[in-house]
């Protein structure tokens, strides 16, 4: 086919674009320009470093009993031993334990480090499952409408009607206590939030002009939902998901605290707090250390989530 020459008046109509915009690059730039997001990224960086470099950072094994490691009562291997740091004047005759020992004579510091892996995995896995299921359900409800919408959303309402933790406890009780079951339970509890976010996005996006336009160009419902609506609905999901990770970590930690999640001897911040709760006045560091770790991680995700919300908000962008 012969192509027509550009019209002379074209230059009038030509927008001034230095280079094409890129959604992800713009978002990243916006994100890095924010104080709260910067703080969140630093905190999460610390946690990520702990998880990745755990074998290097940890001084002892995750589950190693110090008596098995060759220490004796004389070198300080007693239950709930206080932190002993040589630099801070702890006697050289005692072996060094930065955060002391727990009631099973394990090095608390090493356990806190290793447990970061569990918490990260818990956060992403739980929210991942919840987002996938919630998105599918919400998309179906929003796009199909009618009875499908009613059915899905009423089930979601029922789920939301229970206090989250109570429902999670009930689910774990049925499935049996283990870390994976705790995650499944928390994921199930989290589904309604994502389903609602997705449904709301679908409902508003499906009425937008470009959806009608692509339908007029022959796109199928499948195309419309997956390639037109979903990419446009991603923003609130990402924000909700980031904030949700914090909540999920807290919930799983709570289940572990109650003994329904992570099982001994595995290290997990929630169960470490739970194990040490009887000695909180004798050895507060055993509660404070994993507690602070949880707080740092949750704060990091919350700050990042807030930052993402602002960075992805088109009204603030341009």
């Amino acid at each position: 086919m012969a192509s027509t020459a550009p019209l002379a008046e074209q230059s009038l109509d030509q927008p001034l674009v230095a280079r094409p915009a890129n959604l992800w690059r713009d978002t990243l730039r916006n994100l890095l320009g924010q104080r709260s997001a910067q703080a969140g990224l630093v905190l999460l960086g610390v946690v990520l470093l702990m998880a990745v470099a755990a074998p290097i950072l940890a001084t002892h094994g995750e589950t190693t009993n110090m008596l098995d490691a060759g220490e004796t009562r004389a070198t300080g291997a007693v239950r709930n031993a206080a932190p002993c740091i040589h630099l801070l004047g702890c006697a050289a005759s005692k072996s060094q334990h930065i955060l002391g020992l727990d009631s099973n004579l394990r090095d608390e510091y090493s356990r806190v480090i290793y447990a970061s892996r569990v918490s990260l995995e818990v956060g992403f896995f739980t929210v991942g499952i919840a987002i996938i299921i919630g998105t599918v359900l919400g998309a179906i409800a929003g796009y199909a409408g009618g009875w499908a919408d009613n059915l899905v959303m009423r089930v979601m309402d029922v789920l939301l009607a229970f206090p989250a933790l109570v429902l999670a406890i009930a689910i774990v009780t049925v499935l049996g206590p283990s870390l994976i079951n705790a995650q499944i339970a928390v994921a199930i509890v989290g589904i309604p939030v994502y389903a609602r976010v997705m449904r709301a996005s679908v409902l508003s996006i499906r009425e937008r002009d470009f959806v009608t336009a692509s339908r007029a160009l022959g796109a199928s419902s499948y195309d419309i939902l997956l390639r037109r609506i979903l990419p446009n609905a991603l923003t609130p999901l990402i924000v909700q998901g980031t904030l949700g990770i914090a909540g999920a970590i807290l919930d799983v930690a709570a289940l572990s605290f109650l003994g329904l999640g992570s099982q001994p001897p595995a290290a997990d911040w929630g169960s470490m707090i739970g194990d040490a709760r009887n000695v909180v006045f004798v050895a507060p560091w055993l509660v404070l250390a994993p507690g602070a770790a949880i707080a740092i991680m949750v704060l990091g995700f919350n700050l990042l989530g807030d930052g993402l919300r602002d960075a992805l908000d088109p009204r603030l962008n341009r």
Partner: protein, 357 residues
Amino acid sequence: MSISELREPRRRVGTTGERLLDVRGLRTSFTTRDGVVRAVDGIDFHVNRGEILGLVGESGCGKSVTSLSILRLIAPPGRIEAGELIFDGRDLLKLDSRQMRELRGNRISMIFQQPTSSLNPVFSVGRQLEEVLELHRNMKRRAARDRAAELMRMVGIPDPVRRLDAFPHALSGGMAQRVMIAMALACEPELLIADEPTTALDVTTQEQIIDLLQEMQAEFNLSIILITHDLGVVARVANSILVMYAGRPAEFGEADDIFYRCSHPYTRGLLDSVDYGAYRPGEHLHPIAGVPPRLDQLPPGCAFHPRCLYAEPICRDSVPEFGRVPSGHTVAACHPALAGRLNLHRAGAHASGAREL
């Protein structure tokens, strides 16, 4: 200057007189809380191959619903109640949804009023063009990209290869409409429905887009249904015209018949209410008094009678049939139309200011 001066002898590019689309008795209604509203109530018209049909009327008269009905894109609670949409010998209303989907964007395309919001904001325009080609032509990504650049050049976008990576928000309205036209024409359709393609654009850009549409029509022997408020545009490009009022057809025929020998009082009113020259002292436009009726509160009889200069008691009592008038085009046959006395009457009505059309 009057409208007649804007009209030039039509270029009949590749016109064979063959009917591409024949709409018969189309009726589309929407169910609302207050009952069923007929947005389009029995319209008949046809589009010949390689011709431009101008679809004119005030806001809310059913122009857009008509066009969406042709593509069967009326979403619930709307539905097409009756009629036939014969496209190239097949009734579109009898196709299943998969066949219909293959037709959309492939043989019948549509462009919309708001070009920037008609593009998906999260993908580059190149990607969106590629998708159409991948969808209907099974093209591979690479080939689709080359073809996309070619299409962008065809619709007059400068530096098309670089523009492929531009996102919709970075384009001006005119550019975005060009991209939409490129997408609509990617698969070389036979019919393009342009729903007020220039309404959202500024005046100089409007000209360019209309020129582009005309160019494309000549190049592909395309038929176009051009929906617009702008009688000037219609006068310039249309081969035939359908005038709608309150969901019903007022007049349909060759553009020349409508402009020079219009028979319906509403058409007359539309033509009198626009002026395409500089204002001259002492000359007045004659707007149609009042506003279009709400579709759920149509007046009895002819929907136009409360605003009609020629209204008589009979107009309240019966809905005029759509039929032929002596000049050959079809018209809602109300009494002035039948009597053929519209122009005479009119000349007397506005003796001093009247312009001969």
